[in-house]
């Protein structure tokens, strides 16, 4: 597999596990926050209930008590200041009523001072109290009644205010918890988005980009290993797919090569040669450039097969092919045309220049000694026909070259024959000197 896969790659995480753990942590935090908020809400409701059922009623009762004490004090003033016995008696009845009121009797401080006041005023109405002491004692009682009323009134306000302050503190706490909950949610969302971006979106984008180039030849698939198990699995699959495609590509190339190559000599086979040569001829003719083709035939090759066997013949053909590859230029194309017959195309080359090249090949073969496995040696010669292809079709040029080859054979072999546009030119064996 060509997928880059380091041995120190981080351990992959399962996406469901990762997001499950995150969701679990968040849910836990959220539940805790909600539980705290619910607790605060309960506290608030308790405070409201406390305020409604106890603090406020008690506060109202205290205010009424303060008012009753003040009424008692005012009626006491009326008892002392009454101008008629009837008015004094009427005021005294109110004093009696106030001193008997359950609100006053239920408060020890109020009860004591109310009882003391009632007894004092009763003594006054009955004339049992000396005039000189009345006003001084009443001034003291009146002051104590006023203070008691004030204190009880203040207590009533404080009672409600304390409960309201408690509610305020609870609301403030709840508000802070709410902010904390919102912050937790925000952090979770950000972390989730970052994780999704880094662990999911980026790997998926890389995978997408890789998939787009997968069909193209990419020798090594450069996918950094993802940290999530699922992403890693996809990347692995893509790597495998890439390997398969690469193998297919190589196989296809090999098949193409095999289809274009002559198995014995390794040169282009006739079909491939024709394909390449047609392209070269067409290109040269399009740009008005010279191009030349040649046909060559090993002289008396049948004798080699007959005298040394087909294996020796094959060896001779391979040796000739090697010579062709080492002698011709890189831009030249050679192909096995059939049996012991070979074809060449020389781009950017005039027939005369091609004849020089062909003659160099011919002379090198003429000088070459091929050693056979049985210790024997053999030598070969070559006849070549050259034709200009810059003004005619490939088929016509090859036909002309074939005629030149025929001429070469007819003229005694081991020679190069150039057939120009008109006439025939037989090159001497030392042409390349």
């Amino acid at each position: 597999m060509h997928l880059r896969k380091g041995t120190d790659a981080p351990r992959s995480l399962n996406a469901a596990t990762l997001f499950g753990v995150l969701a679990g942590i968040f849910t836990l935090l959220l539940i805790t926050a909600i539980a705290l908020l619910v607790a605060d809400q309960r506290k608030l409701l308790d405070s409201v209930t406390q305020l409604r059922t106890q603090a406020l009623p008690t506060s109202i009762e205290q205010q009424r008590l303060a008012r009753n004490i003040e009424t008692l004090r005012l009626e006491g003033e009326r008892v002392l200041s009454a101008s008629t016995p009837q008015a004094r008696q009427q005021a005294m009845f109110v004093v009696n009523l106030m001193a008997s009121h359950p609100s006053i009797l239920g408060n020890p401080r109020a009860r004591d001072i109310a009882t003391e006041t009632e007894l004092f005023l009763t003594r006054v109405t009955r004339g049992e109290q000396g005039d000189s002491a009345v006003h001084a004692e009443w001034a003291q009682l009146s002051r104590r009644l006023s203070l008691a009323a004030d204190d009880i009134s203040v207590e009533a306000v404080s009672l409600a205010r304390g409960e309201v302050a408690t509610m305020g503190a609870v609301i403030e706490g709840a508000q802070q918890k709410l902010y904390a909950t919102l912050a937790i949610t925000l952090v979770f969302v950000i972390v989730l988005l970052l994780l999704m971006h880094r662990r999911l979106i980026l790997p998926l984008q890389r995978i997408d980009a890789t998939l787009k180039t997968l069909g193209k030849t990419a020798p090594v698939l450069d996918l950094p290993p993802g940290s999530l198990h699922e992403i890693k699995a996809i990347e692995g699959a893509i790597g495998q797919l890439h390997d398969i495609l690469q193998k297919h590509e190589e196989t296809r190339d090999e098949l193409e090569r095999l289809a274009a190559t002559d198995m014995l000599t390794g040169l282009n086979n006739r079909r491939e040669f024709m394909h390449i040569a047609a392209g070269e001829v067409a290109r040269s003719q399009r740009y008005g450039r010279p191009v030349t083709v040649g046909l060559a035939d090993l002289d008396h090759f049948k004798r080699i097969n007959d005298q040394h066997g087909h294996a020796a013949g094959d060896l001779a053909l391979r040796a000739f092919a090697d010579l062709v590859r080492s002698t011709l230029r890189h831009a030249d194309t050679a192909g096995r045309y059939g049996g012991e017959e070979f074809a060449f195309v020389f781009p950017e080359t005039t027939p005369e220049e091609a004849a020089v090249l062909s003659n160099r090949l011919r002379s090198r073969l003429d000088a070459m000694v091929i050693a056979l496995p049985d210790g024997a040696t053999l030598r070969m010669t070559l006849s070549i026909g050259i034709a200009d292809a810059s003004v005619r079709s490939l088929e016509e040029a090859l036909s002309v070259a074939d005629q030149a080859l025929y001429e070469a054979k007819a003229s005694g072999r081991n020679t190069v024959v150039l057939r120009p546009m008109a006439g025939l030119s037989i090159l001497p064996p030392d042409f390349d000197h």
């Binding site: 008012r67 009424t71 008696q89 008997s100």
Partner: protein, 260 residues
């Protein structure tokens, strides 16, 4: 033809709906038990006891959209009348007690009250000056029949050799006291306040105010046990009356002070 049929259908529908609409619009009828006024207490100050209750009843009935018929009764007949359902509302200075709670429903508190002995100057002097109920021996005490005062006296009468003089109303009890037919009367302080106005100094409170043994506490309107919804309505009316000051103004109309 079809139009005629539609008009006829609409007319029939309206006729069918009329009784239901009338039922919805009609105020509910309430029989209200209240305190009976005695002839002997027919003085302006004494009338205030029942007039205060009458004013409260009228205001409550207006607030709950009810047509109320008042039935003045002796106190002793009021609790049984409410308990039986003969009356749907009772406004009669009824003190709250656990025993009564089992028999009837109580509205929210109207005010609070305690009880006190009332005596004439002569009777008070005869029994040694400032008289305490717990120390009273061999006296005749007038109480309204069926009240908490009656129950309390009954509880100590034998041990303290007290003679109970049962009356139908506080006015009657005061009248008996002023005529010298009893030594003392035990009654709610608020009722005594009204009655003492007309006694012209011949009677007065004696001894401390009493709260224990059910002699003091909160005073309520009462309703039959099955009238829970009506109680809610009455309580809502009382809340509204306190909220807009109507309750306080009614009390001040009959008393120069608020002592709720």
């Amino acid at each position: 033809m079809i139009a005629h049929a539609q008009r006829l259908g609409a007319l029939l529908g309206a006729l069918l709906l009329l009784p239901a609409a009338a039922t919805l619009a009609a105020p509910r009828e309430l029989q209200v038990a209240t305190l009976q006024m005695t002839t002997s207490a027919d003085v302006p100050e004494a009338r205030a006891i029942v007039e205060l209750n009458d004013a409260l009843i009228r205001e409550i009935c207006v607030r709950i959209a009810a047509r109320c018929t008042q039935h003045p009764l002796p106190f002793a007949d009021i609790l049984p009348g409410i308990e039986s359902g003969r009356f749907q509302l009772g406004v009669a200075n009824v003190l709250h007690t656990p025993e009564r709670e089992r028999r009837v429903l109580f509205s929210q508190a109207l005010w609070r009250s305690s009880s006190r002995l009332v005596g004439t100057t002569a009777s008070i002097g005869r029994f040694g000056g400032e008289v305490r109920l717990a120390d009273l021996r061999g006296a005749a005490v007038a109480v309204v029949k069926g009240t908490q005062q009656h129950r309390a006296i009954q509880g100590i009468a034998q041990a303290q050799r007290l003679r109970i003089v049962e009356t139908e109303s506080t006015g009657e009890a005061m009248a008996l006291l002023l005529r010298g037919q009893t030594d003392f009367a035990l009654m709610p302080v608020r009722s005594a306040y009204f009655l003492l106005q007309s006694a012209q100094g011949r009677a007065t409170f004696t001894g401390p105010a009493l709260l224990d043994s059910g002699l003091g506490g909160s005073v309520h309107a009462i309703l039959p046990k099955r009238e829970a919804q009506l109680r809610q309505d009455v309580d809502a009316a009382l809340d509204a009356m306190r909220g807009d000051g109507t309750f306080q103004r009614i009390l001040r109309r009959y008393m120069p002070f608020l002592a709720d």
